[in-house]
Amino acid sequence: MLEIVILIPLLSGGAAFLLPARPGRANLIAAGLLHLTACIAAVSGFLPAMLPQYFAVTPMGGLVLIITSFLYLMTSIYTVSYMNEIEMHNEPAFNGSMLLFLAAMSMAAIADHIIVLWIAIEATTLTSAPLILLHKSKGALEATWKYVLICSVGIALALLSAFSLILAMSRGGVEVPLTYNCLNGAAASLDPLWLKVSFIFAIVGYGTKMGLAPMHTWLPDAHSEAVSPASALLSGALLNCAFLGVYKTHVLLTSAGIGRFSDHILIVFGLFSILVAGVFILHQNDYKRLLAYSSIENMGIIAFGSGLGGLGAIGAVIHMIHHSLIKSSLFLTSGNILLGYGSKEIKQVKGMIRLLPGTAVAFFSGFTGISGLPPFGLVISELFIILGALRSHHPVAIIIFISGLLLVFSGACRHIIPMTFGSGTSSRDDLLVPDKLPRLLPSYILLAVSVFLTFWMPETIWEMIRQAAALMGGAHA
């Protein structure tokens, strides 16, 4: 049964609240391993859904599910070592929330029913709030408050998107179950006006959660104030789940033949997000916030590519995969930097390559990857997106897109090169916590997977990417 990918983390999450620290950590990793196995089985088609009216594995959902599960496993290994170094206030609550968060994200990934997707995405907000609140510092409180309130309001608007879809059905005289699968089949008879309204509410609602500018204001706060392993999941996995909400509505419009409407909206939101992120990265003085703004930029790129269709859509899906891998690796290494230097300020971190060589290599490699340089996968996806824009004749968009990327790259260079190679006065003795293998290995594995997928994409994954992109008008070259 497919629902097992929700049940495993749900049950072990419930148990985690009761377990003491040591078995709790084992539980964290064991659940991750079990979950990944179940997810691979689910995507390979071995687990038919018990409730097919609510759940199904779609190409895009399957990709998001696998990414989420893999990131969670890596994060859980990191977390166990991370816990040894910091004074965790309430460890069972943290472990439990992590697992419940995984359950909510898995539910979003396999949800096929419109309302079930909504419930799952709201549940991700609620289960991840404790992960940000954990420190109970003033900053963390403020970040959690903004996160819960802004995202809840956003998702409340997404419910109006679901209502508009129901209206589109009733006005079009369509009587099918309320699942994206069935609606795609009947898309041509749906009322186009309400379909468009539905997309607007979806991009404002789920777009808030996805971090598209100008609804992104909560994101830098939440992602920088959360504990580093939680930041990795928020940025690498959760944003994809929110994108699913936008993607599925976009696919409906494309099947209904009014995809041009959502294309244009996605392109505008995408480019705007890239520019906003670029401007804020330039004068950033907190490296975790810098990474958070980079997530906004990358979500913008994904939205832009989805709006282009054709090669751009394939690029967007590939971009989503590699962004998740690289960004979560970066957030995990940023946790090491925070442990070592005891500060999130860029100014305080100098000459990592001498003091924390393992972390420095991972961090700088991640930076090259996220900037779209080889050998990491974003170089391919960004190339696809630019080619897609060229083919669909969007000259102005290409100029804005490339300038945005350059702006982000130059802004990030300005901060990250001194952090890594700058000559500081501090010596090894000033370091609070040195590098440790279990806190480095996950970052390296994530980066290695990105490199691996760049040069050798397994046929099944490529097929899923192709199908996911084809649904939003993505064609083969």
Partner: protein, 217 residues
């Protein structure tokens, strides 16, 4: 005689206006409880003549308990525990708020008038009431200092969205399980907001959102 549903919808408008004018947090909580009850029994009033299925009756009872009792109770506890000063402390004064409320109602009526040809036939007041409640919810969230009024604004927004949902054509009763899911999310959301409020109050000694402004670029 005025139909019962119209009476309830008039109460919704009234509760919105009173909430904009009220200057005490406790008063706001009571208004929200009242609005919750009205919104929960509205579907029954709309359905007169059709008869109500057992499943839908069960659902409406649970909803009444959550919207009319559980959520206001959570708010009540929050106000008791958290708020040192019991005034609402508006950014925008009460008279201006009432005036804004009237503008929201006018805008809602205008939009409803333009939209109604594209909507299924329903009670004429339903759409304006839904839009007004959504608008006023947003207004309360922005125009008041206290974090707790933001929660109240959020609840009002949700009530408005629920009213919009009542316009939709009838669903089969198997869908109620999903509405339970939505309600559960809402309830958990309000609880979590309450917990964060409690910690904010403990850390800052106040729940004014003005103090929550240190994270920015």
């Amino acid at each position: 005689m005025i139909p019962f549903a119209d009476l309830l919808l008039a109460f919704v408008f009234l509760s919105v206006m009173v909430s904009l004018a009220s200057n005490r947090l406790m008063e706001l909580v009571k208004i929200m409880a009242f609005q919750g009850v009205v919104v929960s029994i509205l579907p029954m009033a709309l359905e007169h003549g059709h008869g109500i299925e057992a499943a839908s009756l069960e659902f409406l009872t649970v909803m009444l308990l959550i919207k009319g009792a559980a959520m206001p109770a959570a708010l009540y506890i929050a106000v008791k525990k958290v708020a040192n000063r019991r005034e609402v402390e508006p950014y925008i004064g009460y008279n201006a708020s009432i005036f804004s409320g009237l503008i929201i109602i006018m805008a809602a009526s205008f939009i409803s008038h333009r939209l109604s040809p594209y909507m299924p036939a329903a009670n004429a007041l339903l759409l304006p009431a839904g839009l007004t409640t959504i608008g006023a919810g947003f207004f309360l969230m922005m125009a008041r200092h206290k974090a707790i009024t933001q929660v109240i604004g959020y609840l009002m927004l949700e009530n408005g969205i629920y009213l919009m949902g009542a316009i939709l054509p009838h669903k089969t009763h198997s869908q109620y399980i999903l509405e339970f899911g939505i309600l559960l999310d809402l309830l958990a959301g309000v609880m979590i907001m309450g917990i964060i409020l409690y910690h904010i109050n403990k850390t800052f000694d106040d729940v004014d959102t003005g103090i929550l402004g240190s994270l920015k670029d």
